[in-house]
Each structure stands twice: as C-alpha cells, then as structure tokens.
Amino acid sequence: MEHLPEMHLQHPATVEEAVKLHAAAPASRYLAGGSDLLVNIRRGIERPDSLVYLNGIAELHTITDGLEQISIGGAVTLRELAESQLLRKPFSAVAQAAGKVAGPSHREYGTLGGNLCLDTRCVFYNQSEWWRAANNYCLKYRGDICHVAPGGKKCFAAFSGDVAPALLLFDAEVELAGPDGRRRIALAALYRNDGMDHLTMTRGELLVAVHVPKIPAPVRTGYAKSRVRGSIDFPLAGVAVRLGLQDEKIADLRIGLTGVSPLPFLVRGLDKFVGRKPDDACLEELREVVRGQAKAMKTTLTPPHYRRRVAGALAQKLAESIF
C-alpha cells in the first residue's frame, strides 16, 4: 500500500455545513466509510487536499419507515442495511446486495452512499501511480488510450457497486444536496454510460438519502453475485431480480445488472415475458436476454465471456429460486 498523503479532515455536523466546507476547499472530497476512497488516494487516483467527513451528520444515519416510502440515509452502513428489518420482503434484494459487498469489515465501515457513488473499476485503472505511469495511463486518468479497447474513445471501466441494481428494481430515488440546495432524482438518472464520468452529480453534491417507494403488488426480489471468492471480491456480474406472479404466470419482472458496464441498469425488453408461465423454456429465454445485455469488457482478470454467461445463469437461477 502506498503512503497516505497529508490532508485536512473536516467534521461537519449538518448536511448544509458539509456542503459549505466542501465548496471552501478547491480539491475536497466527501468521506464516509472510506473503504474505496482511501485506497484510491493511496494509489494516487484521487488527490484531495481536504476530506469532509460525513459520519458525524445525524441525518445521514437514519432509516425511516414512511407511509409511502422507506428512506435510508446515505451514511447508513452496509451492515445496517443488510440487517435492517425494514428491508425484508419485498425489499430482500437490497438487504441481500448490501450483505454481499466485500467482506464483513468493509460492510462495517462502507455506506449506502459510498456504494452507490462507487468509482468505476478496471484492471488498468485500479493500480499504483508507478504502474499507471509505466503503462502510459489510460482514458479514465491522465492518458489518451483505452487498454481495454485500444483505439476506442469510450471508457469501459465497470460500475461495481452491489446495491444499485437492487434499488433500481423499486424505482428508488436519490436525494442530493449541493451548493444550489437539495434535489431529488430517479436513481437511474444518477448514472450515465461513461466509465470516465459515470455519475451525474454536480461538483459539491453529496448523497443525502435514498427513497424507496413501497410497492403494493406481492412481488419477490433477490440478488445474486458472481465472484471468484465468496468474500472481498467485487462482482464479476451482479444480478437483482424482481418477480411477481399472478395465476402462476409472470405479472411483474425486472432485472437489474451491475459489474458488466459503466453503469448499473435495468435489463430492457422483459415485457415479452409478462403473461407467460415461468417454465424451463421461458427461463432459458430469459437467461439469453440477460446474457445478451450483459456486455462485460476486459476490465477484470476474469474474461468477459464468463461474466456475460454467468449473468444470464444467475438471473435464471434467481428467477427459479425466488418462488
């Protein structure tokens, strides 16, 4: 591990104070769990001179069970999320995803906001400064070449948070606070398909809370994650499935994917499964649809072929096992 440079650490008590402190320093970053940011700072990927520490802000730690929505503060830890009684059926996918992030110690520190705003990852990017310099850097950082797809001008660094695809199943919204006040946008709108700049947040914005609308229909959800090891690893592919049956036929179907592109997204074209019986043929077809949209690139040591294939397989297994 490379050494940690000296930085100012700020301790705001409110969201508004945090935003103000962030704006006051030219190169500041918000810090919550730090399990991703501090590693990136040590590697020289991030070079802030000031860190605005969010964990002292009470508002960010609350989980509220509202009439129409569940609201989860941005600094709620992944362990708290995984263990939350509010995130039982039909929100199981969210708790399951949080419980599958990294290892137990990471989940003790890591936060919901951190996982949703996780930087995109690539084997050519998540390396030391010496390494990246020796490799002439890359599109995402200081360079002008993509080592994943040489010749291309698009960055394929993969979004690797586990919780986002689960929240996408529920039309969740995120509440952001920034120099211009607060705003609420769909979680899907937080992301764009660009590994270099995958978050639509503007400079100085922080993620205050996630609002998950309650759903009336009797649907079930789950999250499955492919990784070489059962702990620590980021997803090679992560799949969240939402399935509702009526008269033994599919009435509601959504699938969220992560780890296979620069943003988490809902699989398109699932309408054609509505009204069908979830039999073997149907689920095989589903598997192929998911596989076709999981366009993983060579951003991990595990080859893309496997990640595409396993995304489909996990979707099929989840859909089979949820009911």
């Binding site: 050494h3 440079p5 000296e6 020796a134 040591l301 496997y306 397989a313 297994k317």
Partner: protein, 777 residues
C-alpha cells in the same frame, strides 16, 4: 517435592512457544522497529521491461532538503544470487533492466513524502530492448539474450534417461500422453517485505533486521554486495509473517536497506508495498508439462516420459534447482523403473521466480497424478489400486539414487480411503458431486547444502548458568512454522525436563551459531538432530556432576529429568543442585551439538545435477477431495478434504496438523484461483483483490491423519511435515472435478471461467456425437 518422572515433550501437542507474543501483538516484525532518527527508504523501479540504462542522474534528488542518501548500482561492490554457480543479479540494476519493477535506485529521507519527491527527481534514460514475457518468446530463434552467458535464454537444460523407457512403453497395456499448463503463483504471505538497518558509522558496522527465512544468506550477500567484512555485519531475524519460500534467498530490499543505511550513516526503515512485494516475486514459475505414462492392466507403471518448461523470470535465482527438482522427484514416491526427462528453465522479462513451498515438485506431480487418474478410469481400476500397484519398499535406493529409508505411503492410502468413505461413496455421489484422490511426497531438507564448506549441516549451542535455566541458541529461522518450539521439545525430551526451563534465542548472528535457514523442510530434521546431540552432550555433563555429588559411578546415575538419583531409595538431587555441581570449578556450561547428513543421501551422479533431490528422508501424503460443481456457473465448492501425511514421529502433533492443513489450503489456492497475470510485463495481479488467495468462505474442513512411519535417522524418527501435503491437492481436485462432471482439467488454476469452457466444449462434443465417456484425448 521432587518430580520423579521425566517430562515428556515429544509427541505431545504443544502450543508454539512464540504464541503469546503473536496473540498479544507484542511480537516485533521488521516494519515494527522504530528509532527516533530512522530514515524512510524507498525504491525507484524500472517502468520498462527490458532496456539499457544510458544514464542515471541523481543530482536533483541529492540536492533535495531532507534527502540523506541516494544509492545506485555504483554503490554495490558485487552482484549476488542464491546459488554460488548462478549469481547474476544486482541489488540495483547495473547497466540494464530486465523486468518491469526492477530496482534502479533508492533513497533515504527524513519522511516518506520527501523520499517520494526524491524518487520523482531521479532521471533515468533508458534505451528499450525487445522484451519476452513467455518462455516460448524468449526461446524463439533470433531472440535477444537477457544475459550474455545464457545463449538461447536457457538458464539450464536438464536431461536424463534412466532405465529403458522405450521398452517400458512397449510393454505397457495403455500409454497416454497429455499436456498440462500451470500458471505462475506467488506466496502472498501476510507480511510485505521489510528491513530495518542500522549503520554504526563510528565503527563501520551494520546491524540489520530483515524479513527473511535465511539470515545466514542475507549476511553473506550483504558482505558481498556492500564490500564489507562479514565480521562487521550483524543480522537479527525479527518475527516473520510467513515466507513459504519467497524469502529463502536474499532479496534486493534486504541489500538496499543496508546500502542506504551505510550511505546515510544512520538508520533506515524500508517497507515494501504489497505491489512491490508481488513484483519481488520468487514464486512458482509458469510451467508447461508434457507427461506420458505407460501402464499395465493391473496399474503397474512401466515407464514415464516427460518434459517441463519453466518461465523463470529475469534472473537465475534458484532456477537450476527448481528445474532439477521438477525432474528428479518423479522418483521417491512410486516404484518407477524407467523415466526420461527433458527440462528447460528459461529466462524472461518477468520478475524472477524462486523456491515456493513444494519447490519444483508440484506441477510435475499434478501432471502425473492427473494423468494416471484418467488412465485408471480407462482401465477400470480404482485410483487407490493404481497407487498401491506401484509402492516402494523401504529401505531402498531409487533408480536416480535417492535414499528412501522410511515409507508410509501405504498407510497414508489406507487412512485416506477409510476416512473419506471412498469405497462406499465413490461413484455414488450423485450429479455434479465427485471424489478425487492423489498422492505426493517431499524431501526433509536437501542433503547437500548449497554452500558446501565442510561444516556440519546444523549446530546448536546450549548454555546453562547458575540459575539452572537452559538457553538454546540456534541460527534456525523461526518463520511461523514452529522451529523454535520443536528444538525446545527435542532438548526438553532428551533431558527429561519441562519445556518451561528452556529459553530459545534464535537467529541473531552475534549470539547464535550459523544455520543455513528455513527452507526445503530441513530444520526439523537437521536442527532437531543437532538439538538432540547438544542435549545428550549436556546430559553427559550433568550425569557426571551428579555422579560426583552422589559419589557413585556415572553409569549408576538415574536421570529423571528434574531429579538425578542413585537408586530408587535415593531422594536424589534436584536439577538445580546438579547444575551447581556441574558449574563448580567449570563456570557457566556451554555445550554444542551438531548434525551431518550421510553420504548415501547426497543424491546420484547419473546425470548432471542428479544430486538435487537427495535427502535424508521423504515425507508422504495421500488425500481425498470432495467437490460439488455448479453446472450453471461452473463454480467449484470443496466440501471436504481428508489428508494423511507421513511425517515419521510427529514431534508436535498440533503443529503437524496446522502445517498439513496450511499446505492443503495453499495447494487449494493454487489449484482454484491464484495466478499471476501480466500486461506487457506489468503485473495486473499485484494486490490482494486481483491475486485471489482463498478466503475463509472457500476453506473446507480439512481432516488430518498423522501417519508415523519413523525414519531411522530422523530426530525421534521425525520427517518433513510442512510441504508434502500441498502438492496432492491440485490433482486430487481436478480428479474430483472429473468425477463430478466428466471433464478433465489440464490447466490451472481451475477458475470458473476455465471450467465453464470445458463444460461448454463437452456439451458441444456431446451434441456433435463425440464420445467423451472418460476417454482421454
């Protein structure tokens, strides 16, 4: 009052004697040492894989306030290397760099930020040369040589042809040949490399605490590279966070710490990052193996014809020894009547490989045990029966002149077969579940040391003073494997005293006798025997003293450990009383014990390098692995492992169990998920996320059966316990997967993506109507 029976220490489960320090965090590792004036050392590494160094300009770095020393190859008096016949490495690259990350210069500064700024100010001009990242590229016609004295980039070509292989193949009922490929693996030990070096400028002396398995080699190489008298260097081994072979040679970081401390005329702490530790490498080479075996219908092996090509990396290191082991240790486990081997150790522009737990044997054994498992299936034989058809009978000498004096493989097989329920369960596991088995063996130390000087193989000092404590002084490096504990046990058992009476002082060159170090599983055998010898010598002195005091003949003294007496009616003398008598007129007792191997164990002369493989005793292991394969994701779950290990007398059954479990677990990582990967010579894997060591989630229950086929020369009959069980896991896993899903993996690690490809190919073949029912390609 007086305890009337000798204390037993051997064969008793004993917690390791350095456990309390480690459990409470008091143990000091190299990076834990502090000094008020300690400088921070950092290394500038080559960004290119192969280049001439045209110029190095350190003037700006030297001028930076806070920088106390900048060193380059100009500060080195000599090159270095672990094998006296193959020294070609420089602590800091001389005129040429040969892999990405090779140290080029280093700085010592008042703090880490200054040290980093200084590195950025060093200007190196490179003229790039063609680089080769695979053995095949490096061997290709017209390839530029990495070292002028190594034509064709061949570090060493090994060849032997013993017995009549062609006749053996002709006499076989079944001959099969397969290609195998095993990825390069790293030890990934817990502690990154570090060294704490103090230079006494007034006296021109160096004291260094390096994270090493071989303090003696570090001592020798520091003197050679720094041009210092050996007597002016003191090497103190601190606690070590694992080694597994990557620290069995002097690393550049050990030498650079010394060079920086001298130039700064002060104290330097050099701690490598995890990435730098991976770049330093010294792991197991990527290897291609061709293996051909002839077998009779009853499983008898008639001939073995095999070859191995290892990608050795940029410098010689242990390379010659590794490729020799890859050939010679086809022997020593089964009755092999004829074998032909061709081995190539190749120099490439990647970090140098080294001696990894199971040195040289692992990949050959994987290929062999994998191939014969498939042949057993073809012949309709049980895999256990095939092994039993080829057992050795000890004592014997193998065809390549390896001494086998004790042999417990038959008992290992019996235990593993029974414990795993093999007979009842094999073939009835249900879909996607399988059982596989394999055997392995390993040496108990190389019988002929690399630095042959005529000294005994091991020396132990025991000191006894007026307080009646026994201080055991040993050069052997405790690296977490329990060597200090085992020596204390040997001495305590021989004297019959409680282990609490013994204090072990280990591996401080100013205090302890020289020892070659902790590698090739030599310590228990060699140093254990020296400990017994020393304790016997001490006991003779104590008995003589007791005889004087009791006024009886020495042969009439009965030694009960804490009591020495003349007869059953005699109340006897306490240990303290005996010691006081022994000190009378003598002063503090200092006794010595030594051990030497016997010439019969020194290996053969039938081919060049045939001595490599020679050992006093072999350990044996047999293991059964049970797996479940997910057919959709191709993920393998290891449900359980049953492993029997013949270590001769288990001196400390608790430590043996830990070593065997650790070996199996390490083999599991290599078999299933660990591998190095390079992008044009840059390590993509140099962190703990991308180098995939198994986590506790993947770790199965490992049931250990200790088999004690005592060796006549071993300390109390003991043999090696820390390496032999690693190897068997790899083929046992692929054999289990073959049993579960009908595909035979020849490429390691067997990651889900590799297994998925095999499963997809099988499905395609089945659709195309190709028969794949257990037939080998």
């Amino acid at each position: 009052m007086n305890k009337m029976i000798p204390s037993r220490s051997i064969g008793v489960p004993k917690p390791l004697i350095d456990g309390p320090e480690k459990m409470t965090g008091k143990a000091m590792f190299a990076a834990d040492f502090q000094a008020v004036d300690a400088l921070v050392g950092r290394i500038l590494r080559s960004p290119v894989a192969h280049a001439s160094i045209v110029a190095i300009d350190t003037s700006k770095a030297e001028a930076l306030p806070g920088v106390r020393a900048v060193v380059t190859e100009a500060d080195c008096s000599n090159n270095h290397g672990v094998l006296p016949i193959a020294m070609n490495e420089w602590a800091l690259a001389r005129h040429r760099v040969r892999y990405r990350g090779e140290p080029v210069a280093a700085v010592a500064a008042v703090d880490v930020a200054t040290a980093q700024r200084a590195l950025d100010l060093i200007e190196v001009t490179y003229e790039e040369l063609p680089a080769y990242f695979t053995a095949a590229e490096a061997r290709a016609e017209g390839a530029m040589v990495l070292h002028d004295d190594k034509p064709g980039n061949i570090e060493r070509e090994v060849e032997f042809d013993l017995g009549d292989v062609d006749a053996g193949m002709a006499a076989a009922d079944l001959v099969r040949e397969m290609d195998f490929h095993c990825a390069e693996v790293c030890q990934a030990q817990m502690e990154p490399h570090a060294a704490f070096a103090e230079y006494d400028a007034a006296r021109e002396r160096l004291t260094i605490r390096p994270s090493t398995q071989v303090p003696f080699y570090v001592h020798k190489m520091l003197a050679r590279v720094m041009g210092m008298p050996e007597s002016h260097i003191r090497v103190i081994k601190p606690h070590i966070g694992g080694g597994f072979g990557c620290r069995t040679e002097t690393l550049q970081s050990d030498l650079i710490a010394g060079l920086l401390a001298r130039k700064a005329r002060g104290t330097v702490k050099l701690v490598l990052s995890r990435e730098e530790t991976f770049i330093t490498h010294r792991g197991r080479p990527e290897t291609h193996i061709k293996m051909k075996v002839g077998m009779k219908k009853d499983g008898t092996i008639t001939a073995v014809d095999f070859s191995a090509q290892q990608r050795g990396g940029a410098y010689s290191g242990y390379g010659i020894v590794t490729i020799l082991y890859a050939g010679s240790l086809i022997y020593g486990i089964y009755d092999i009547v004829s074998a032909r081997f061709k081995g190539y150790r190749v120099l490439t522009n990647t970090p140098p490989c080294g001696a990894f737990r199971g040195h040289g044997t692992v990949k050959t054994r994987f290929a062999f045990e994998n191939l014969i498992d498939g042949m057993a299936t073809e012949l309709g034989l049980d895999p256990f029966a095939v092994r039993r058809a080829n057992l050795l009978v000890a004592p014997t000498m193998t065809e390549n002149d390896l001494l086998v004096n004790s042999y417990g493989l038959d008992q290992c097989l019996d235990w593993a077969e029974k414990a795993s329920g093999w007979k009842q369960r094999k073939g009835k596991m249900g879909p996607n579940k399988g059982l596989g088995m394999a055997c392995s063996h390993y040496i108990s130390g190389a019988s002929k040391p690399k630095h042959w000087t005529g000294e005994p193989h091991a020396t132990i000092h025991l000191r006894v003073d007026w307080d009646a404590s026994i201080t055991l002084l040993t050069g052997a490096a405790e690296i977490g494997q329990g060597s200090s504990t085992v020596m204390a046990q040997c001495v305590a058992e021989t004297l019959g005293v409680d282990m609490g009476r013994i204090r072990v002082v280990a591996a401080d060159s100013a205090l302890t006798p020289k020892d070659n170090g902790s590698y090739s599983s030599r310590v228990t055998f060699m140093v254990g025997n020296a400990s017994i010898d020393a304790a016997q010598n001490l006991k003779a002195l104590l008995i003589a003293a007791a005889a004087r005091k009791l006024e009886i003949a020495p042969e009439d003294v009965e030694c009960l450990g804490e009591v020495y007496r003349g007869g059953q009616q005699d109340q006897g003398l306490t240990f303290e009383e005996v010691v006081m008598e022994a000190l009378t007129g003598e002063g503090t007792l200092a006794v010595k014990g030594t051990y030497d191997t016997i010439p019969e164990s020194w290996g053969g002369r039938k081919y060049r390098g045939a001595a490599i493989g020679g050992t006093m005793a072999f350990s044996y292991a047999a293991q059964v692995v049970e797996v479940t394969v997910d057919p959709d994701t191709a993920e393998i779950t290891v449900n359980k492992v049953w492993v029997a290990h013949d270590c001769g007398k288990a001196l400390n059954p608790l430590a043996v169990e830990g070593q065997v479990q650790g070996s199996v677990w390490m083999g599991m990582g290599q078999a299933m998920s660990e591998e190095t990967r390079f992008h044009e010579g840059l390590p993509l894997h140099a962190n703990m996320l991308d180098y995939r060591v198994p986590t506790i989630i993947e770790s199965p229950p490992i049931e250990v059966g200790i088999i004690e086929a005592n060796d006549p020369h071993g300390p109390f009959g003991a043999k090696e316990a820390g390496e032999g069980s690693l190897t068997g896991f790899l083929p046992a896993l692929t054999n289990a997967v073959a049993d579960a899903v009908g595909v035979r993996a020849t490429e390691l690690p067997l990651t889900p993506d590799r297994l998925l490809e095999l499963l997809e190919k099988k499905a395609r073949d089945e659709r195309a109507g190709v028969s794949v029912s257990g037939k080998l390609a």
